[in-house]
Symmetry: C2
Subunit: 318 residues, 2 copies
């Protein structure tokens, strides 16, 4: 059932022992949404906990005081945040698919799997919606909540630069700063800080950039060997995918990352001319208009062959 | 004489035949300030013109309709925008130093050279102040003015990420988007588009990064030879300087650029621990707390020696 912000807030206020699910390979928006909501529910005297199939990265959690103190309880109500489809829960899908009571999301591709769905595909980040829900619950937004929401908004918009960013996004940011969000520190950590190992990986990635389809497609391949050579981890590669789309003339950027088991996944970045979510859907993936992802059961070479064959078709039709 | 926004608007409304000066090597903020103010004055039926010692870069002017249509007239009132000191006017200083009636600026280092000074060092961009002046003049902000102001604000804050960005900055951005500013296009052009030649130069710059002072200082040197090798121009190097400060542990980033005559200039980028404007002042330059610049009469090797000697002193004292 589709619900609005007020109904969502009303339902949450009635519930207790709330389990909040984030998507696997957690990014700033799912983490920020999960912890902001959890902290708000705790302020209302409720028990709440956030879980994820993968580990939370300290970069996202360090500025959210108290977010990792998670009480144990038997869950009575399950909420998924920023999770478009149940399979994005990763290893948590086995335990929770089909049992999710509420979903709060901003992906137009949301599969409507929860009992209650609060969806706003115009929001640049799920955290923009969570901000409204928390206000509707009449919870005081303190610094940790403001930081959590700011982290989600700034990371999902590439620091307010993607086309998804609206005046509402900027206004939400202004409001959160006035409520104590450490915007300068957060933006520096998220966007202005490269570890030495990441910088080395990025250098290799840039050196290895390949161009196809009359330079309209750009491919970066990150192999396990490159992680070994640079000491970088697969959890610090999110800055790589946007590099493909930044080169003048590139309409479709493909970043193929090899996993330890030899299979791979691909991050897709596009300009207006190509719909990234549609492109990813060809390979069982999904996402947004200009940023999406998919997974492959094959290795990087075969994945590249498949991706480029589709890229040629798509770009030839434009 | 220091004036406030209302007084500034009142004076401008009384004047006509207004010449607006921008600083040499024009960036988005001086260009956006100059053209926004000019377009607003024209709406009031006045004659106004914007000039600069150097050429306006199309990247900054393309989205400001009508900004380059400049009427000829004998100037009766001279306004400098985003110009901290008269020598930053470049070759225009000879003709206009000592004759400037009004200065609208956000540099704390402003030397108070104009008859009237509207200064707000808390503004992240001069365009934030110009927005207030235009509103105080009761001019309707149309799309070209909104675009001009948005360009200034987003470029001077590195797309809202520098520490100078406040909630007022985000609120100004939201207001300008509602008034028609093409935020997505502007941010893509300013921050998400690299020419092939710039991308090649950036690759060389990253490959040549050097670290000093226990990795607390990072130096990039751009030589004339690197421009030749890559085809990049000196007008597309502004993305290079921020790269130095992005490496984990770096507190002081120095980007030394060789000029065609063999002399050089240096862009300084810092974190909280080092004041960039103070550092630049050692070499006759200036700027902001975390971003400043200075010029040298010597070549890049000697400049690097001088800069690193000072860097060691400064970092050792912290």
């Amino acid at each position: 059932m589709k619900i609005n912000v007020e109904k969502c807030a009303r339902i949450l206020k009635e519930k207790d022992n709330i389990l909040i699910l984030t998507h696997a390979h957690p990014d700033g928006d799912t983490v920020g949404s999960g912890f902001a909501l959890c902290l708000a529910l705790k302020q209302l005297g409720k028990k709440a906990r956030v879980i994820c199939a993968d580990e939370f990265i300290p970069k996202y959690t360090a500025l959210i005081d108290g977010c990792l103190e998670m009480p144990e309880f038997k869950e009575e109500f399950i909420v998924a945040v920023d999770v478009a489809t149940e399979n994005l829960l990763g290893s948590l899908a086995d335990a929770y698919a089909g049992k999710i009571d509420m979903c709060i999301d901003h992906h137009g591709t949301n599969s409507d799997y929860a009992k209650y769905l609060l969806l706003n595909a115009d929001a640049a980040a799920a955290c923009e919606i969570i901000l409204k829900v928390i206000k509707a619950m009449k919870v005081r937004i303190d610094k940790p909540i403001a930081n959590a929401l700011f982290i989600g908004i700034t990371t999902d918009t590439g620091c307010f630069r993607y086309a998804s960013t609206t005046s509402n996004t900027y206004r939400a940011a202004a409001e959160l700063i006035d409520l104590g969000a450490d915007n300068a520190t957060i933006n520096r950590i998220m966007f202005e800080t490269k570890t030495r190992t990441y910088a080395a990986l990025e250098r290799l990635a840039i050196e290895g950039m390949e161009f196809y389809c009359d330079n309209r497609a750009c491919v970066i391949t990150i192999t396990q060997d490159m992680y070994k050579k640079t000491g970088a981890s697969e959890f610090e590669t999110e800055g790589i995918a946007p590099l493909t789309r930044q080169i003048e003339g590139v309409e479709l950027g493909l970043t193929i990352r090899e996993k330890p088991d030899g299979k791979c996944k691909c991050s897709i970045r596009t300009l207006d001319s190509v719909n990234a979510a549609d492109f990813a859907a060809n390979f069982g993936g999904g996402g947004h208009k200009q940023a999406a992802a998919c997974r492959f059961e094959c290795g990087v070479d075969e994945a590249k062959r498949l991706l480029l064959a589709r890229a040629e078709e798509v770009l030839a039709s434009k």
